[in-house]
Amino acid sequence: MTFSTVVIRGLLRRPLRTGFTLAGISIGIAAVVALVGMARGFQQSWEVGLKARGTDLVVSNRSGSLTPKPFDASVSDQIKSLPHVAATCDILVEITSIEDSDLMILSAREWGGFSWDNLKLISGRMPNSATEPAVVLGQTAAEVLKKKVGDPIQIETKELKVVGIVKGGAVVEDGSVILSLPLLQGILGSPHQINAIDVRVTPSTSEQQLQALTHQIEQRIPQVRAVTVNEHLSHNEGFRLVEAMSWGTSLLALLVGVLGVMNTMLMTVFERTHEICVLLAVGWTRQRVMRMILYESAVLGLTGGIVGVALGVIGVRLLDKTPAIRGLLQPDLGLPLLGLSVVIAVAVGVLSGLYPAWRSSRLTPSLALQAG
């Protein structure tokens, strides 16, 4: 028998209560995994999408929403003349409800711009001109919207035709409804408005030159911000807000878990007062008794963490299959997040066990002789 046998035996004493406590902490951790994984996945999916389009820099208006504020398309002419700029592509992107689907990415691109280049046709064709009332659908978007080549599609008040299904090389691209910029500007009634410019630099551009270019763009056009693809997402207040809200919600769920573990451990100490006194009477130190309670609560945390991570991963996989989420993001369920979740769970366990452990160490061993 080892000390860990004593710890495990303590937890198995009340299997039902231990089970409920585990469920509480697992749900908290599952919330962390699911919500934060989705938030981060959303951000990363955009990053991969931008990279798939061959974009090095994104110029957009400072904004607190998920899609940036619109600005005048003439800005791109000023950027084209700057050194190291190989090409630009005006973009107008909206996240909106299309027909029966909840949220879809509507991605309008400058006709002939490089952002069209990475799209690989699976079926049908590309639009013939900037003004043809036609869209191509990313393959996931086509599945979610249940559309095939030749079907009509309602964008705002206008009916367009699906002329092709494409593969975009990234979840965001595959989940998008893609059309020409003038067409969407016409539908929205804002002819010169765009909300992002994808910038591709010359191949020989160094990282320092890229940084210098971003400063130059921001100096010349104060209303926009130019950032590299990686920075674009980490600086986007909308993404940060989503991640913060995910953590906030998760922490609330975790707080419930903390209270659950603390309640269980306190009950344990009260119920096992006599047993703890016997342990002290037969020579256990107060530190060992405290350690026993703390280990029990840490094991609760660890087990709850592992179960919670599993629940979270399963939950996210199920959510990812729903039409509302599908195509919008690829959840981030990387080891760092899963590892962090388990660490949080153990910390929750230890933290919740501190007060009960302290209570247990205050007991007087003489109770062992009186009780029973």
Binding site: M1, L12, L280, V282, G283, W284, A368, L369, A371
Partner: protein, 240 residues
């Protein structure tokens, strides 16, 4: 402290021990003086509420006296910095209600005090098996307390009290919860082990027939020792 240290000084010496509760309203011990030599078997008797159990708690460092001193091999027990170490290495407790831990087998219960000792995992197990064999329970190693009879439970408790090879065994009415047949055999076991292993035994009882088997009987009344004498010669177990 080491149980192997031999000296002419008494093993335990109580000097004016008092213990009060509720801000002095309850005086459980009113100045107790006595000494115990190593290897003695002493019975403490007296009516309920006379302070027997309180005295036993002080001897076992489960509690501290209100005033007075208790010397163990010349060192003041209340002033020890680590009372747990004293309890773990020098004291073996046997309780009236056994106080085995219900979620542990007999073998595991005996190992519980050994966590404070020096033994490795396998040594702890080996020693516990040996102790259970000593109390006649070698065929009950993996039984939980709920599957043992009262007499068997107390035998496990006796084995547990010997886990860290203490020099002083403190038994609080060890046969109080047993039928007369089991009471006899458990008492015989405790006395046999005390004599064979040369340990000191302090046994609290209100049963005069049990007390008469001791080498000395301290009789308490109202928080004081009113007599300290040997039993009638033909009954004393430790007398020649």
């Amino acid at each position: 402290m080491s149980s192997s240290t031999a000296s002419a000084a008494p093993l335990l010496e109580a000097r004016g021990l008092t213990r009060e509760f509720d801000d002095g309203q309850v005086k459980a011990l009113r100045g107790v003086d006595f000494s115990i030599d190593a290897g003695e078997f002493i019975a403490i008797t007296g009516p309920s509420g006379c302070g027997k159990s309180t005295l036993l708690q002080l001897l076992g460092a489960l509690d501290r006296p209100t005033s007075g001193d208790l010397l163990y091999r010349g060192e003041s027990v209340p002033n020890l910095s680590d009372l747990a170490a004293y309890r773990a290495s020098e004291i073996g407790f046997i309780f009236q209600a056994f106080h085995l831990l219900p979620t542990f087998t007999a073998l595991e219960n005996v190992q519980i005090p050994m966590f404070e000792g020096y033994r490795s995992r396998s040594e702890r197990r080996e020693h516990a098996v040996e102790l259970l064999r000593l109390v006649g329970l070698e065929d009950r190693l993996d039984h939980f307390p709920s599957k043992l009879s009262g007499g068997e439970r107390q035998r496990v408790a006796v084995a547990r009290s010997l886990a860290n090879e203490p020099s002083l065994l403190l038994a609080d009415e060890p046969t109080g919860n047993l039928d007369s047949e089991n009471a006899h055999s458990v008492l015989d076991l405790i006395i046999r082990l005390q004599q064979e292993q040369g340990r000191t035994l302090v046994l609290v009882t209100h049963d005069p027939t049990i007390a008469e088997r001791a080498g000395r009987i301290l009789h308490m009344t109202d928080g004081r020792i009113v007599s300290d004498q040997a039993p009638a010669p033909h009954n004393a177990a430790t007398r020649p």
